[in-house]
């Protein structure tokens, strides 16, 4: 074979392979319907974050329920503040680490972690302990500090928020696992599952100035929804949220909530915080928009005490 022919053939072959992969869902060739979880929600109390997750995910049928072999997974914790783990402003690093480990055990090809932070992102990633924990479990910790990482998406049906710029990794990954930390919030009263998405978008100033509660609910319309929400209620900031001032703001609740329904997750979280669900305006809005069910009585909930 002439060198020229060889080059031509290999380039052609490479392109074909690339296109095939790009066309997406190479994994779908072996696709089988994922097993359905037994419960709508699992709530665990009384253990360490990692042990509670082990138990909770087991009740939901294991991580294999949500993550298929060869898939890329995005784990989105709250890393918003330049604060140490004990002060509860960010998701517990132990929990993040254990979720990543479960993803890899379920055959995930790659796991990514990022957050669009409020404080200086390098300090946040570092002092929250999440960067170190996530890297030690083999995940890729990705920056989200520059607009160049974000892409415009449309949110059809959004009342106030019809367009947003979201982090490219939300678009490039197959599975989205939302890992908020439950906290008081100065304006919306609570930040948890739905509000955690403000760390996925670039222009959250727009949300603040265009009816924050409606924007939070509107974003939940976007097609890329979390397969699983893991709510960290270990160290819960019950006042001065979402940043906190000192350890007096923290109540040691030692709990965790796992659910695929983020509106239900937020409703349960509100109860943990002792706030009436109706007071947290975006929850009833999201419920009415059909984005989830805030009536916990209608759900099949498994409660476990360790």
């Amino acid at each position: 074979m002439k060198r020229r022919d060889f080059l031509k053939t290999s380039i052609g072959g490479g392109m074909a392979a690339g296109v095939a992969l790009k066309m997406g869902g190479f994994g779908k060739l072996w696709y089988s319907a994922p097993p359905v979880a037994k419960y709508d929600m699992v709530a665990v109390m009384g253990g360490n974050p990692d042990a509670m997750f082990d138990l909770g995910i087991q009740e939901l049928g294991g991580m294999g329920t949500f993550v298929q072999k060869g898939q890329k997974v995005l784990i989105k914790p709250n890393i918003g503040w330049d604060v140490i783990p004990d002060l509860g402003a960010n998701t517990n690093p132990l929990l993040v680490k254990r979720i990543i480990e479960h993803c890899f055990k379920a055959g995930a090809k790659e796991v990514y972690v990022f957050d669009h932070t409020c404080d200086n992102w390098v300090n946040c990633y570092n002092n929250s302990g999440i960067e170190k924990a996530a890297k030690s479990a083999g995940a890729k910790v990705v920056p989200a500090n520059s607009e160049s990482y974000y892409h415009q998406i449309e949110i059809p049906g959004g009342i106030k928020l019809q367009k947003a710029k979201v982090h490219q990794l939300l678009l490039e990954t197959d599975v989205f696992i939302n890992v908020p930390v439950l906290k008081d919030h100065n304006s919306t009263r609570m930040t948890c599952c739905l509000k955690n998405t403000m760390g996925i978008v670039w222009d959250r100033g727009y949300w603040h100035s265009n009816d924050l509660n409606q924007c939070i609910a509107d974003y939940a319309l976007y097609e890329k929804k979390p397969a699983l929400n893991v709510i960290d209620c270990y160290n819960v900031m019950v006042k001065h949220g979402p940043q906190g001032v000192s350890k007096e703001d923290i109540v040691f609740m030692k709990s965790q909530i796992l659910t695929s329904d983020w509106v239900a997750g937020d409703a349960a979280a509100a109860k943990m915080l002792g706030v009436a669900v109706e007071k947290i305006e975006y929850i009833p809005i999201a419920h009415k928009m059909g984005l989830g069910n805030m009536n916990l009585d209608a759900l099949n909930i498994k409660r476990i005490k360790m």
């Binding site: 404080d119 200086n120 390098v122 100035s209 019950v238 940043q243 109540v251 030692k254 943990m272 909930i301």
Partner: protein, 519 residues
Amino acid sequence: MSSSLLRRIRIVFSTLVFIFFVLVLVDFKSLIPTNYINALMFLQFVPSVLKFYDLKVLAAGGFLVIILLTLITGRTYCSFLCPLGIGQDLNSRIGGRIKKKFRRYGFKRPFTILRYTILAITLIVTLVWGVYMITVLDPYSIFARFMTYFARPVIIMINNFLAGILGKFDIYTLSNVPVKGFPLIVYSIPVAFFILIGALSLTKGRLYCNMICPVGTFLGLISKISLFRIKFKEAACTRCGRCAVRCKSSCIDFLKFDVDITRCISCFNCIHTCQDKAISFGIVNIKKKPHVTDENKRKVIIGSLLLLFGLTRVAKGQEKTVPKPKKDSTVKENRTCPVCPPGGVSIEDFNKDCIACSLCINICPNSVLQPAYKQYGIAGIMQPVMDYHKSFCTYNCTKCTEICPTNALHPLLLEAKKLTQLGKAKFIKDNCIVKTEKTACGACSEACPTKACHMIPYEGNLVIPEVKEDICIGCGHCEFACPASPYKSIFVDGNPVHVAAKKPENVQSEIKTPVEFPF
């Protein structure tokens, strides 16, 4: 000593110094520890003088070492330690490559009146009025500004380009850093000096150092009584004139066997170039050309002008647009005083000691320090000022206070910095989204690290900000986060004198650890 070893030592040493300076000044990720930076700054003449004047401790007496060094070896500082001088040598080398003429210096008469006038005026202005002329003329500061204003954005753009490529391969070791330009007006002085010094060093060696630089002139005066000098072995000299041609300072009059010691910067090029071994450096016993314009010079000037203004354009262009709320805010922020960086103690003190070298602007991890253009008045141009529309001051950071070479920013312990009130947040209710749009916001209070800015009940389920000024530290996170536009609904008005803020009080929450699920 007549060996060319001296010159080699000079080149190696100065290259290391230069590289270190460049690294420190383009280090946009603050990777270099502050004590290394402080060690480097110890021997910078002007910063050291100012720091000594401020602190009056020997630990800040780097300039005494330099004076001693000058008494022994002449203007070694200019060749070995001054980053601007070393940078000019580099540029002269480039000039020499471009055109043969540019590397043939030859003896020229000194600009005696000009240089001593500049030195005298600088001294008088500094003693009577303040550091303002030193700010403009200190060689270290000039160099630092070149790096901050021109080199750094280029380095960041290269970083962003590489980060983009690596990102395609799923590698995130490098991250994109948004390039933020300064107000155009503050580029004027650095651009003017870049053109002046660039052109002079490209074509005429160290003419800037021997004509304008007050530090060079001052050390030249001292070196009149220095011990070691360049000297001729008259018997061995064949009067070939090579030494004069190679002398960057144009200070060797070989016909008279005379070296103008006030201009000699101890570069040792003459020793290296002398084939007769007639020149040496040792303890001493102890003395002209026309000027033509040419097209190349013009091209260089035009080229650098285009490059520099182009660069600032690019830096400007990279700034991203901020989303705007529906309605424009109406009440203008009534700023009575700019916010000066932590450790500045008072604006008056700070303005007196700062020589606008921009090291703190470089090191600030949040880029909240920006060169002032009018905030401190014309005399304070390029001095750092807190710009809370660009960014905010990180609560857990004292970087800028740790590295100030002139002690214009006093070192602050983290605990002290967290209680240093740079200014007070002022709330403008009529601009607030909660009032104008009747929707929830709370971006300011969310960002507040002390909860000086907190929310109180408003209409219905809404809450609206309120500021407790005594625990506010003026970090500006509220102002930065506020989405109101064009005027913010909360802004920090600077304190002319920094004061101690009260420590925020906090009581244990009444909510208890649950024993049962509440749902």
